[in-house]
Amino acid sequence: MKGLFARFGVGVALALELLFFGILSPHFFTPDNLLNVSLQISITAIIAAGMTLVILTGGIDLSVGSLVAISGVLSTSVLRMDAPYTLALPIAVLAGAAIGMGSGFAAGVFVTRFRITPFIVTLALMTIWRGTAFVYTEGRPVWELPESFAFLGAGRVVGIPFPTIVMVIVFFVVHVVLTRTRFGRYVYAVGGNVEAARLAGIRTSRVLTVVYVISGGLAAVSGILLASRMNSGQPNAGLMYELDVIAAVVVGGTSLNGGRGTVVGTLIGSMLIGVLRNGLNLLDVESYVQQVVVGAVILTAVLLDRMRSS
C-alpha cells in the first residue's frame, strides 16, 4: 500500500475512491454517469491545466473565475448581434479568447515589468473583470442565443460530451508542452529558481507572461463552454472557480512554491474532486455535508503527497 502510493501518489487515492463509490452505488460505474462526471469536471479542469503552468512558475492566477464570466458575457453578446451564425460564432469565440489572453498578458506585464506579486495583480484583475461583467450586462444575463450555440457546452460527438473532448485535447497539449518542449523546460526552471534561470539565458519575463496568457485563454475557453451550457452569458458565472481550480492543481501534487508538479497530476486531482462530488450526490449526501467532506479530502490528499515526497 505504502509502496503503491509512493509510485502513483494521488492516482491511488482516485482508484480507491472509484472502488468505494462503485461498491456503494450501483449507478456509479454506468457509462452515462462516468461521462456525466467528465462533463462536470471539464469546465474547471480546463482552467486547472492553465493554472498548473502558472503555479509551476511559482505564481498564482486568481482572475480565472471572473474571466469565465467576462468571456461568457462577451461571447454571448457578440452572438446576439445581427450576423449570420457561421460568422458570429468564430467572432464570439475569438472575442472571448481575446479578453482572456489580453487579461493574462496584462497580468504578465504587471508581474514581470512592475514586479508586483502575482497574488495582488490577479486579485485586482479578479474584481475588475467581475465588476466589468456586471456593469456591461447591467446585472442581467445575456439571453436568447442561437439554438445551435448550445452544442459547445451540451453537444456530443459519438456520445462523448464536447467539453470532455476539449478537456482531453487541452490536457494532451499542455502535457506535451510541459514534458517535450523548450518552453516547458523553462517553466520548471523559472519556477525552481528565477534568477538562476535568467543567468542560464532564459528570458524569464517572456516565459512568465506567456504562462499568464495561456491561463487567461483557457479560462476564457471554459467561460464560453459554460455560457453555452447555461445557454446564457451570466455575470456571476465562475464565482469562486479559482479556488476549486487551485485545489485541483494542489491535490494533483504541484507545489505552490513552483518548480515541481505535472499536468497529469492536475487531471487526476480534478477527477478526484469531481468523482467525490458525483459519488456523494449519488449517495444523497446533503450538499453542506459534501463541502465538509471535500475539504477534508483535499487536506488528506495533500498530506499524503507531502509524506510521499519527504
Binding site: V176, R180, T181, R182, R185, Y186, Y188, A189, G192, N193, E195, A196, A197, R198, L199, A200, G201, I202, R203, G259, R260
Partner: protein
C-alpha cells in the same frame, strides 16, 4: 583530566550509506579543535548530531564526563552547545539584543513582559566582552555578514555556552573580518570555551588549531596536536593519497584577443579597461567588495552597464541580458553555485542542457534521445560522479555540481568562460580536477576569466592577474610578477576601500 566533550563510537546510518562509522571525537576546555575532511567525510553529520538536529544510531556523548542525550536542538542549547553557521540565522526584523536573547528573553519579574532595558544592558555587556561595539538597537537586517556572525556568537554566550562550533565561518568574510574573528576565537578559548572549528581553508586551520581531527568516509583518520602538521600531510590524510601537484603545469599559448573592454562603468564599476585572449586564463583578484563579481556580471549582461564599450571577436558587444551574452558565446559560472547556478530540484540532465535546448529541437519538441546522448558525453568527459544524468543535482557534491554548470556552458558552445570563485566549498581532490579542466579548455583556445579570493589559486593558475579595488582595476600583473604581496598591495591601492564593503 576529563575532557569537556566526548563523542564515543558515533554511528549514523542512512539508506545505503554509513555517514559515520564509529567516530570518536574529544574536545578539551579552552582548545580549538579543527575538524577537517572532504565533503561527505561526515563532518556536518557529526556536528548535527552534537547540535541535536540529527540522532545517532549508536555511540555515546558525554559532557564533563556525564552522559547526555541530545534529542533536540533545544536540549543541545540548554547543556551549553552552540553552533555558528556560515550564514547566520537571525530574524531580520528584530534588533541585535532581541536576536541575542531570542527564546530566553529576560522578563519583568514573573510577568509576560520583556525587560527591555535589562536585555539591552546584558546584550551590550556580552558584546563588550567580545570587544565589539555594535549598537544593540540595530535591526539585524542592517548588519554585515561579519556582524551577524558576532551576534550569533553573542547569542551562544548569552546561553553560557561551553562548546562552540564554527561551521565554515570565514567563507563570507573579508580578510580583515577574518582576522577579527580569529582574535575573538582566541579570546573565547582563554575564557575556557571549547571550540570546534570546521573549514576547507587549510592555511587557516594550521593557524588557529590546537588539535586537528581528520575524517574520511565516515571514519576518523587521525587526531593530532596541530604543532608540526603541514598542508601536504593534511591533504594526504583527507584524500587518502598524496597529491603531487597543487596546480597543473601551464603549457598553453596565449593567442589573439577575444574580448576588449574599454571604459566600462556602472553603479559599482569605474572606467574598466581590460583585454582577454584566446588560450588565456586571466585572474581577477581583489578583496571582497572590490567589484569583481559586479564586473563579470556586467560583462555577462546580468547587470546594467552605464558607460564604455566592448568588442567581442572584433565586433561591438553590448549584451542586453544574459540570454544575449550566451548567444554570443559567453558563459558565467556564478559565485553562488546553489543559489544562482543550479536548479536544485531538477536533474543533472535538465541542468546541463538548459542553455542549449535549441540544439535538440526536432519538429518543435525536444528529441529526448539526442539530449540524453549529448548530456552523457559531457558527464563522461568531465567525470561527473555519480555518472547518472537522471539524478537530482542536489544529490551531488559541490565539485560535481560545479562540473555540471561548466558542462552547461560547454554544451552551449561558450568560448569565453567566466568563473566566479570556482572552487569555493570544493574538495581538494576535485579542485585539482577543475584546474586541469580549465587548463585544457584554455589549451583548446577558449578564453577564461577567473575571479578568486584564494590568492594561491589565483597565482597558481593565471597567466595574468587583474587586481580590482573600489570598482576599478588597480593594476595588471603578469605571471612573473604575481606574488601575494604584489596582489595585496594593488588590492588595497585606493584609500576608500573601507567604504566599498562596509
Amino acid at each position: 583530566m576529563i575532557p569537556l566533550l566526548e563523542m564515543q563510537e558515533i554511528v549514523k546510518q542512512y539508506p545505503g550509506v554509513r555517514a559515520l562509522d564509529g567516530v570518536t571525537f574529544e574536545l578539551r576546555a579552552g582548545e580549538v579543535h579543527c575538524l577537517v575532511g572532504e565533503n561527505g567525510a561526515g563532518k556536518s553529520t557529526l556536528i548535527k548530531i552534537l547540535a541535536g538536529a540529527l540522532q545517532s544510531d549508536a555511540g555515546t556523548i558525554c559532557i564533563n564526563g556525564a552522559q547526555v542525550d541530545i534529542r533536540t536542538p533545544s536540549v543541545a542549547q540548554s547543556i551549553g552547545i552552540g553552533v555558528i553557521y556560515q550564514d547566520p540565522h537571525l530574524v531580520p526584523e528584530l534588533d541585535v539584543a532581541e536576536n541575542i536573547f531570542l527564546g530566553h528573553e529576560p522578563l519583568v519579574g514573573a510577568s509576560p513582559f520583556v525587560d527591555a532595558r535589562r536585555m539591552h544592558d546584558e546584550a551590550s555587556s556580552i558584546l563588550a566582552r567580545l570587544g565589539e561595539r555594535i549598537p544593540t538597537q540595530t535591526r539585524s537586517s542592517d548588519l554585515t555578514v561579519a556582524q551577524r556572525q558576532i551576534v550569533e556568537i553573542a547569542r551562544a554566550l548569552s546561553r553560557k555556552v561551553k562548546v562552540l562550533v564554527f561551521d565554515e565561518p570565514t567563507a563570507p568574510l573579508t580578510g580583515r573580518e577574518t582576522e577579527n574573528l580569529f582574535r575573538l576565537i582566541g579570546d573565547l578559548r582563554h575564557q575556557g570555551v571549547g571550540i570546534v572549528y570546521i573549514s576547507h581553508r587549510l592555511e587557516e586551520i594550521l593557524r588557529i588549531a590546537d588539535r586537528i581531527t581528520v575524517l574520511r568516509d565516515g571514519r576518523r583518520v587521525v587526531s593530532v596536536d596541530a604543532d608540526g602538521v603541514t598542508i601536504p600531510q593534511l591533504v594526504q590524510w583527507m584524500v587518502g593519497r598524496e597529491l603531487s601537484e597543487e596546480y597543473p603545469v601551464i603549457d598553453r599559448q596565449v593567442a589573439e584577443e577575444v574580448l576588449r573592454i574599454e571604459g566600462l562603468a556602472n553603479a559599482r564599476l569605474r572606467n574598466i579597461d581590460l583585454a582577454l585572449h584566446r588560450g588565456e586564463i586571466l585572474g581577477v583578484g581583489g578583496l571582497v567588495g572590490a567589484g569583481r563579481t559586479e564586473f563579470v556580471r556586467a560583462i555577462f549582461g546580468a547587470d546594467a552597464i552605464t558607460a564604455g564599450h566592448m568588442l567581442l571577436r572584433g565586433k561591438p558587444y553590448m549584451p542586453r541580458d544574459p540570454a544575449d551574452a550566451i548567444a554570443q558565446g559567453l558563459g558565467l559560472l556564478t559565485e553562488d553555485r546553489n543559489g544562482l547556478g543550479l536548479f536544485l530540484q531538477l536533474s543533472i540532465r535538465e541542468n546541463l542542457s538548459i542553455s542549449s535546448l535549441l540544439q535538440y529541437i526536432r519538429r518543435g519538441v525536444i528529441d529526448a534521445d539526442a539530449e540524453r546522448r549529448r548530456v552523457a558525453e559531457f558527464v563522461d568527459a568531465l567525470r561527473v560522479r555519480p555518472p547518472n544524468s537522471e539524478l537530482r543535482v542536489d544529490t551531488l557534491s559541490g565539485g560535481n555540481r560545479q562540473k555540471v554548470v561548466l558542462a552547461r556552458w560547454l554544451a552551449a558552445n561558450s568560448d569565453v568562460l567566466i568563473f566566479d570563485e570556482p572552487t569555493v566549498g570544493i574538495d581538494v581532490g576535485v579542485k585539482y580536477e577543475i584546474y586541469v579542466l580549465m587548463n585544457e579548455l584554455a589549451k583548446e583556445g577558449k578564453a577564461i576569466m577567473v575571479v578568486s579570493s584564494d590568492l594561491n589559486e589565483l597565482i597558481g593558475i593565471s597567466d595574468r592577474i587583474a587586481v580590482m579595488c573600489d570598482g576599478r582595476i588597480a593594476g595588471i600583473l603578469p605571471r612573473s610578477e604575481a606574488t601575494n604581496d604584489a596582489v595585496m598591495t594593488l588590492a588595497t591601492a585606493f584609500a576608500s576601500i573601507e567604504g566599498a564593503h562596509a
